[in-house]
Each structure stands twice: as structure tokens, then as C-alpha cells.
């Protein structure tokens, strides 16, 4: 019993310690962000690595999710004689929920894991130590550009996911199942609200971008500098990042759409 209590205490302290270090780490990154403005090229490089290189998985996943939504939505709506609402169904599902959430989950798996592995290996091969010894702060030079790029990339990727998803739904609904094209688009344009739906979706993906990228860069920077350590940190990024996205999605949805 005493051992169990001790273990619980040790684990709690360890979690609190990591949260504390993670928060200090985040504050250090935020301090470094203004210094990136005159060297925005560093952020552009990372936007390419985290954003552009994630495009294939985001676009393909968005297309198929949209197609499945079109198919499932049509079969459900048609039983109620509401097949003409397919456009609004696909668009709202993607813009409010699936776009930000699935794009963030894919981002955690594709870009988050790559960030952690890259930073972890830089630590394991003493590149971060070498930078420190050259009087260059690795948090400002390596971490801050990656963090900012992750935050900027996430809403753009989510928007592309939703756009391609709507096209997928259109292809299945209008192209294959015969829903009227004019009704599909007019319902979609009339019912999707810019502030309530699109802006809230963008806010969600921004919050997910901060959470996933923060977890990814911290796990990399805090890794045990061995091959096992880097492997464990990369796994943690995907697991913790995905759980954080799902948990935050519930909170944000409750806050944003609770009064609807």
C-alpha cells in the first residue's frame, strides 16, 4: 500500500515537473518569436517542411473523408427526403469538426513526429549543445521557427482539408448519386456562416496547431539522447498530441456551439 502511494507520488511529481518545464520552455519560445521577424526565412523553411510536405496526406485524406461523408450523408438524408441538404451536411461537418480535428491528427502523425525526431536526433548528436557552445540559443534558432511554422501551417492545412473534402462530397453526391448541383451549392452558401462556422473552425485549428507543435518540439528537446529515447519521444508526440486534439476539441466545441 505504501509502495503504491509512493509510486503515485513519484509519478505525480514527475508529471508536474514535466508540465512546469514544458511551460517554461513555451515561455522561452514565445520570447524568441519577435526575433524571427527579421529572419523570416527560417520560418519559411519550416513552413515548407511542416506544411508543404504534409499536403499529400492532408489532401488525399480530405478527399476520401469528403467522399465518405457524401455517401453516408446521402443514404441517411434520402430516407427523410432531404437529399438536397447534402451540401450543407458535408460542409458543416467538415468546417466545424472533421477539417480541424482530422487535419490536426494527421499533422501530429506526419509533421509532429518528424519535428520530434529531428530535434531529438539533433540533441543526441550534440548539434544543440554545439549551437549553445557557439553562443547561439537553440530555442531561438531551432525551436521557435518550427513552433511558429507549425501554428501557421495548421489552419491552412485544415482549410485545404475541408475544401478538398467538400469537393469529394460534391463528386459523390452530385456526380455519382444525382443530387442537384444548384441545390448542393446554394444550400451550402446559404447555411454556412462565416463567423459561427468558418472562423470558429480556424480558431480550433489554431489552438490544435499550438498544442501539437508545442508537444512535438518539447518532446524532441526533452528527449533522452539515445535511439530508444528518440523513439519513445516520437511515439509520445503522436499519442499525446492526438489526445490533446480530441480533448481540446470537446472543450472548444462546447464553448463555441454550446448555445446553438
Amino acid at each position: 500500500m505504501l509502495t503504491l502511494l509512493q509510486q503515485t507520488g513519484i509519478r505525480t511529481l514527475s508529471v508536474l515537473d514535466r508540465i512546469g518545464r514544458g511551460t517554461i520552455f513555451l515561455l522561452n519560445i514565445l520570447q524568441g518569436i519577435p526575433g524571427l521577424l527579421p529572419r523570416f526565412g527560417l520560418v519559411i523553411q519550416q513552413l515548407y517542411a511542416t506544411g508543404v510536405l504534409s499536403l499529400v496526406i492532408i489532401l488525399v485524406a480530405g478527399l476520401f473523408v469528403g467522399m465518405v461523408l457524401g455517401l453516408q450523408g446521402y443514404y441517411t438524408l434520402v430516407t427523410y427526403g432531404a437529399a438536397e441538404s447534402l451540401g450543407i451536411f458535408v460542409a458543416l461537418t467538415l468546417v466545424r469538426e472533421l477539417g480541424p480535428v482530422v487535419a490536426a491528427l494527421l499533422f501530429a502523425g506526419r509533421a509532429g513526429s518528424a519535428l520530434t525526431a529531428e530535434i531529438g536526433l539533433m540533441k543526441a548528436t550534440e548539434q544543440l549543445s554545439a549551437m549553445e557552445m557557439m553562443a547561439v540559443d537553440p530555442i531561438r534558432r531551432v525551436i521557435a521557427p518550427r513552433f511558429l511554422a507549425g501554428i501557421l501551417a495548421m489552419p491552412l492545412l485544415a482549410a485545404m482539408f475541408s475544401a478538398v473534402g467538400i469537393l469529394g462530397g460534391y463528386f459523390v453526391g452530385v456526380g455519382l448519386l444525382g443530387v442537384d448541383e444548384g441545390t448542393f451549392w446554394s444550400q451550402l452558401v446559404a447555411k454556412v456562416d462565416f463567423y459561427d462556422d468558418i472562423v470558429n473552425g480556424v480558431i480550433k485549428s489554431l489552438v490544435f496547431g499550438v498544442a501539437v507543435t508545442w508537444i512535438a518540439v518539447f518532446e524532441g528537446y526533452d528527449t533522452v539522447p539515445t535511439s530508444e529515447g528518440v523513439s519513445l519521444s516520437t511515439t509520445k508526440t503522436v499519442v499525446h498530441g492526438s489526445l490533446a486534439v480530441l480533448g481540446l476539441d470537446f472543450v472548444l466545441t462546447a464553448l463555441m456551439f454550446g448555445d446553438d
Binding site: T125, E126, Q127, S129, A130, E132, M133, M134, A135, V136, D137, R141
Partner: protein, 281 residues
């Protein structure tokens, strides 16, 4: 008149500083958990000299370099680098001091995503506002001094171990530091590369008027180029002196280390409980 007095005072202060060791370690204690790595050691590193710090593997030689570079903080004692207590410096002051120190890591620690040219140019681009044409000339000069001007376009993954260390050395001297710390520069090198590195260290130290601290357990190479040697083991300085004095030492420990004997004051076995009891338990 007051201005002249001030200049004179400053000159005297500078002259006094030049007489002082560049690194002055006093009463250094550093432990990891219960294991004391350094227990009350004193070390002086003279300016313009090559000082070798030798000892068996795991005695904390690399840790000592990290303490001198301010990457670790001692639990007790002081480390003065060019007159400044490195463990008490603020972040900004520490980084200012580090611009005058370079550390050559055991594996080179080159940035793997950029080529040789950009690796050597990295500290120049970070700390100076020199035009790219001048940076290029400086990079070419540094690479020429380590014999790798022809490798300018190569990526770190295309370099051999010895070449990577020479590129790292070119990067280390890019900002013309006052002191270079070498962490096991000869480990794992073939005899020719080792010879090249030994000659390079000596030449660079003389030509650039550097101070070099060389951490290694390669006895012959260290004794060949060092001006002064410290032997450390078990958290203590066991012996120190010129290479000649070390070679003629009567200490059993020193002789075991220099001759590479299997057993002696340094036991072959890591500390362990009684073998027979452990087998029967």
C-alpha cells in the same frame, strides 16, 4: 591627465590578466546523484599553451569541458574563465563569453542538414554582419587551414570521421576564439588521420595564438603535443606536470596508465559485491 591615468590603469589590468591562467579551477566539486565525479580539484590552464587532461574512460573528462564551457554548473568551487566566474554569469554574459571559446565535440557535431560551407559559415552569419563575399573568403581560409577547401560542397554524411572533425575544427576557429576545447579528438581515427590531427592542433595553436585544452586518453599523441598535462581519476588530480615530468613519474597509477597495464592501482573490475556470494545468492 585623468584619461591617461585611466588608460594606464586599464593597461596594467590587462597586463595582469595576461599573467593569470586563462582557466582557473579551485575546489571544484561535481556529482551526479551519489557519484562524485570531481571532488575538490584545482586546475590551472595557462594562456597560449596546449594543456592535456588525461584519464581513464568515465573519469569525467568531457564533463570537465562542459563545466568550463558553462553547460554544467558545479556544486561547489569556482571556475574562472578569462577572469569571469562562469557559473555565476547571466545568460547573456555567458553567451558573450562563449563567443570567445570553442568546443570541438567528439563526433564533430556538424549540422547534418547543411553542407560543409554553411557549417563553417554558421557562427559567422550568426554573430557578425559581414557581407556574404567576405564570409565566403573567411570560410575558404578556415577550410584551407584544415586542408578541406575541396570539400566545401559536401554534406556531413559524405565525410569520413576524420574529415568531419577537421570541418568541425574549421567551424570552431571561424570566430578566432581565444581558447579551443577538444573532446577526444583522436578517438577512433586511423594512424594517418591521427597524425594529421596532431599536427593540425599544434600548428593552429601556434599560428592563431590559441589556448587549447585537450581531453583524451590517447597517451602518446597527448604527450607529443601538450605543454602541460593533468592526469585525473576517481574525482581527483592524480598527477600534473610537463610531459617529461609525467613520463618520469614514479607513481604506480601514472605508470599503469601510461603503459596501459591491465591491472594495478586502477582495478580491471568495476566495484561489485563478493563474486562467490553473488553466485550462490
Amino acid at each position: 591627465m585623468g584619461v591617461i591615468n585611466n588608460i594606464s590603469k586599464n593597461n596594467n589590468k590587462d597586463h595582469k590578466m595576461q599573467q593569470e591562467p586563462i582557466v582557473k579551477i579551485r575546489g571544484l566539486r561535481y556529482a551526479r546523484g551519489d557519484h562524485a565525479i570531481f571532488n575538490d580539484i584545482d586546475i590551472d590552464i595557462e594562456r597560449g599553451k596546449i594543456t592535456a587532461i588525461m584519464g581513464p574512460s568515465g573519469t569525467g573528462k568531457t564533463t570537465l569541458l562542459r563545466l568550463i564551457g558553462g553547460q554544467l554548473k558545479p556544486q561547489a568551487g569556482s571556475i574562472l574563465v578569462d577572469g569571469e566566474n562562469i557559473s555565476r554569469l547571466r545568460h547573456k554574459e555567458l553567451y558573450q563569453l562563449r563567443k570567445r571559446i570553442s568546443l570541438l565535440f567528439q563526433n564533430g557535431a556538424l549540422f547534418t542538414d547543411i553542407n560543409v560551407y554553411d557549417n563553417v559559415a554558421f557562427p559567422l552569419r550568426e554573430h557578425t554582419r559581414l557581407p556574404e563575399s567576405l564570409i565566403r573568403s573567411l570560410v575558404l581560409m578556415k577550410l584551407e587551414s584544415v586542408g578541406l577547401r575541396g570539400a566545401i560542397e559536401l554534406m556531413p554524411s559524405e565525410l569520413s570521421g576524420g574529415m568531419a572533425r577537421r570541418v568541425a575544427l574549421a567551424r570552431a576557429i571561424a570566430l578566432d576564439p581565444m581558447m579551443v576545447l577538444y573532446d577526444e579528438p583522436f578517438t577512433g581515427q586511423d594512424p594517418i588521420t591521427m597524425g594529421v590531427l596532431v599536427a593540425l592542433l599544434r600548428t593552429l595553436n601556434e599560428n592563431l595564438r590559441l589556448t587549447s585544452i585537450l581531453v583524451s586518453h590517447d597517451v602518446q599523441e597527448c604527450l607529443a603535443i601538450a605543454d602541460y598535462v593533468y592526469l585525473i581519476s576517481g574525482g581527483k588530480v592524480i598527477e600534473h606536470g610537463t610531459p617529461e615530468a609525467i613520463n618520469s613519474s614514479q607513481s604506480e597509477w601514472v605508470n599503469q596508465f601510461l603503459q596501459g597495464e591491465e591491472d594495478g592501482p586502477v582495478s580491471f573490475h568495476y566495484r561489485a559485491p563478493d563474486f562467490s556470494q553473488q553466485l550462490l545468492s
